[in-house]
Amino acid sequence: MIQKFDVIEKEALENLEKEQKSDIPQIYVGCATCGNATGAQSVVQTITDKLEKENIKAEIKEVGCIGMCFAEVLLDVIKPGQPRISYHGVTPETAEEIVDSYLVKDDHRPDLALGYFGEGGPADVERIDTGDVFKNQQRVILKNCGIIDPENINEYIAHGGYKGLAEALEMKQEDIISVLKDSGLRGRGGAGFPAGRKWESCLKPQADQKYVICNADEGDPGAFMDRSVLEGDPHSVIEGMTIAGYTIGSSKGYFYVRAEYPLAIKRLRKAIAQAKEKNLLGDDILGTGFNFDLEIFQGAGAFVCGESTALVMSIEGNRGWPKPLPRPRTTEEGLWGKPTLLNNVKTFSVVPQVLSKGADWFKSIGTEGSPGTAVFALTGKINRSGLIEVPMGIELKKIIYEIGGGILDDKKFKAVQTGGPSGGCLPEDKLHLAVDFDTLVKAGSMMGSGGMVVIDESTCMVDVARYFLDFTFEESCGQCVPCRQGTQQMLEILNDICEGRGREGDIEYLLEMGDSIIKGSICGLGQTAPNPVLSTIQYFRDEYEAHIKDHACPALVCKNLIVFHIDEEKCTACGRCRKACPVEAISGEKKVPHTIDQNKCTKCGICFQECPERFSAVVRLTGKENLAAAASGKEG
C-alpha cells in the first residue's frame, strides 16, 4: 500500500503546487479560536476584499494557532524568495497598511513586524524561531499548528502526513505496539499511562467489535491545547486514531469533543470527509481491506466525562457517572461492554510521527522516564501567554522567564499552577524542577492536561485554592459521598477563611479531610480534588494563617478582608473615582480630598482602577484593625 500511498502523496503535492501558486505572495492569518476572538476574521475579510478590489496577486489562507496568543492577531507573509515575516496585534487597519507597504511596495514595516522565521530576514526585525519564544521549544505535536491550512489535507500530506499510517498498515499489529513500547510514549491526558501497554491490553481480548475513542473533552479551566491541535492539525489526530484502529482491530472510532469547541468540530468534520475521499479513512483503507470509520460525539458539558468510564457512560446516553471499582478495565469492557481504547488528543496526534520517525527519535526528546514533549497553555500573570511545546525535563524557570518573558508588569512571581483542578501550586524555590510526569507529582502538583498558570504577588493563594475547589465542587458528579459532600465542605471552609470566618484548626481539618477524600472517592476527580488545597497549604500556609488569625489577605484580594481607603495626602480631588463609583459611596467636592462611605462601598474596586498611577491615592487595607475601623463607620 506504500505504493498506493505514494500515488496519493504525489497527487497531493501536485494539487498543492496548483493551489499555492508559490510564485505569488502567501498570506497566513492565525484563525484558531484565540485568533478569531481577537478579530482575525475581520482581518481576513478586509484583506480578501482589498486583494480583490485592487486585484493584487496574493494567496490568503486561514491557519491554526502557532501559540503566540499574546501577539494575536497574527498575520504572516511569505513573498517568493523571502522568509516568512510575522506581524502581530494586527487590526483591519494595520492589515491594509501591511498589504500596501509590503505586498504592493517593498517596505516590510519593521514597526508592525514581530519578526521572521528561518534564514536571511531583514536586519531590522528579529528572528523568531531562534528567539526566546521558540529557542527553548520543540514542536512535535504542534509542528503543523499555525503552519499549514488545517482545512486542506494536501498540506498535511505535504508535511509528511499519513506516512505513519501507510507504514503502520504494512506492519504487524504486535510490531506497532512494540515500537510504541520502545518509544516510551506515555498518555498525554495527565496520568501518563504508557500508551504501548494500553494498546496491548486492548489488542489481546477477542471481540466482535472494539472501539477507539479520542478524549477531546478538555475541561480544565485554563487549558486549550487539545482544541488548538484539533483546530490547527486535525488530520494528525485522525491518522493516529486510524493507526490505533488497525492495531487493536477496531473498525469504529469516536471523537468525544466538547460542544463548546464549534470550530474544532467543524474542522474535524471537514478533515474526516477529506480523509475518506482520499481512501485514508472509511472502507478498505489504501486497499488493505481494513475499514475504519470515525464519528463525532459532542460532550454536553461535564468535566467528569474526562474520566474514561464516565465518558463511556455519557456516550451510552447516561449521566456521566464513573463506574466504581472494582470493575473491568475499559480496555477490556468499555463502550457497550466492548474493548475500548481511549487516549487523549495529543497522544493520538503524536503516534504517526513516532511510527514514521521511529522510537529512537522519540526517545531522543525529553527525559528517560518521560520521553517526548509537553504541551502547555501558558497563561496568567505572564507577559507572553500562549501555547507552547517543550521537551520533557525543561526547567520551569526557562518556561516562565524565557518563553513566557517573565511576570506581567514586572510584579513579583509567587507560584505556578499546573495540572488544573487536579494539580497544585509550586513556589519560587521549586522553579528549578524539571517538567515531567513524575517530578511534578513528587513536588505535590502534576502535569495534568497541560494548563500552566503563572501567579504573582497580587494573587491570593487561599483564593486560588478556593477557586479550584469551587470548580471541582461544581463539576463533582455527585455519585460518591467523599467527593460530593467533601468538596462542598472544603469549599465552605475556604469561603469562611476568605471571608474572615476562619477558625483555629481549620487548616488541620482541611488536611485530614483532603486525605479521606483522596482515599474514599470513586474516580480521579475526587481523588485529586483536594490537591490545590493541600499544595497551597504545604507551600503558603502563612497566607492561610494570616486570613484566619489576623483576618488579613496579604495579596489584598479577598473582598471581605479588605477596605478601600483614600489617602488624603495623595488625593487631588480630581473626582474620577467619585464619578466612576457605581454606588455613590464616594463623597467630596473640588479641592476637598474625597472619602469613601464604607457602609455604601461594595468593594467593586473601580475607584482603585480609576485613580491615576501618579496619584494612587486609593489604597486597599487589610487586617483586623482596618476592618474594625471601617466597620465602626470611622473612615478607615
Binding site: 484565540c34 479551566p221 496568567g380
Partner: protein
C-alpha cells in the same frame, strides 16, 4: 412545539446512545428543553422519562426554561480568574440586575459563567454569543451590554 420535536426526532433511529445528541438537537431547535420534549425523547427511545431527565440535568449544556436572546458568558477560567474575571462578573450582575444563570426580565440577555473559552491571553474575557470582549475591566460592563443589545 411538539411538531418541532417530532421533526427533530424523526432524524434519529431511537437508540439509547442517541439520548444526548437528541437532547442537543431538540435544544438547538427550541432553545431549551421543555418537559414534553423530554417525554417525547423517552418515548421515542423507549426508556423511562425520569432517566432522560436525569441525564439532561446532569450536563451543564442543557436548559429547561426559556433563555435570553443573547447569552453573556463570563469566562472564569483560571487565567481570567487570576486576572479579575470575578469583578467583571460582579459588574455585569450589577448592570443587568440579575445573578449568573438568570435571564433579564425582557429576555434580551441571559448571564452565565463558563470555564475557559480558550482566549486566556485576552483575560479577563466575556463572550456574548460568539463576539469576544477581551482584557476587560469592571467599568466596561455597561459598554459590553450596549454593544450587544439584540435590537442594535
Amino acid at each position: 412545539m411538539q411538531e418541532q420535536t417530532k421533526k427533530v426526532l424523526s432524524g434519529f433511529e431511537g437508540k439509547p446512545n442517541e439520548v444526548i445528541p437528541m437532547l442537543q438537537a431538540v435544544q438547538n431547535e427550541i432553545g431549551y428543553l421543555p418537559e414534553e420534549a423530554i417525554r417525547d425523547i423517552a418515548d421515542h427511545i423507549g426508556i423511562p422519562e425520569s432517566k432522560v431527565y436525569g441525564t439532561a440535568t446532569f450536563y451543564s449544556q442543557f436548559y429547561f426554561s426559556r433563555r435570553g436572546d443573547r447569552s453573556v458568558k463570563v469566562c472564569l477560567g483560571t487565567a481570567c480568574h487570576v486576572r479579575g474575571g470575578m469583578q467583571v462578573m460582579d459588574a455585569l450582575e450589577r448592570e443587568m440586575g440579575i445573578k449568573a444563570g438568570e435571564n433579564t426580565p425582557d429576555y434580551k440577555f441571559s448571564l452565565e459563567r463558563v470555564n475557559c473559552v480558550g482566549s486566556c491571553a485576552l483575560a479577563p474575557v466575556v463572550m456574548v454569543d460568539d463576539d469576544v470582549f477581551g482584557r476587560l475591566v469592571p467599568k466596561q460592563a455597561k459598554e459590553v451590554l450596549e454593544k450587544s443589545d439584540p435590537k442594535v
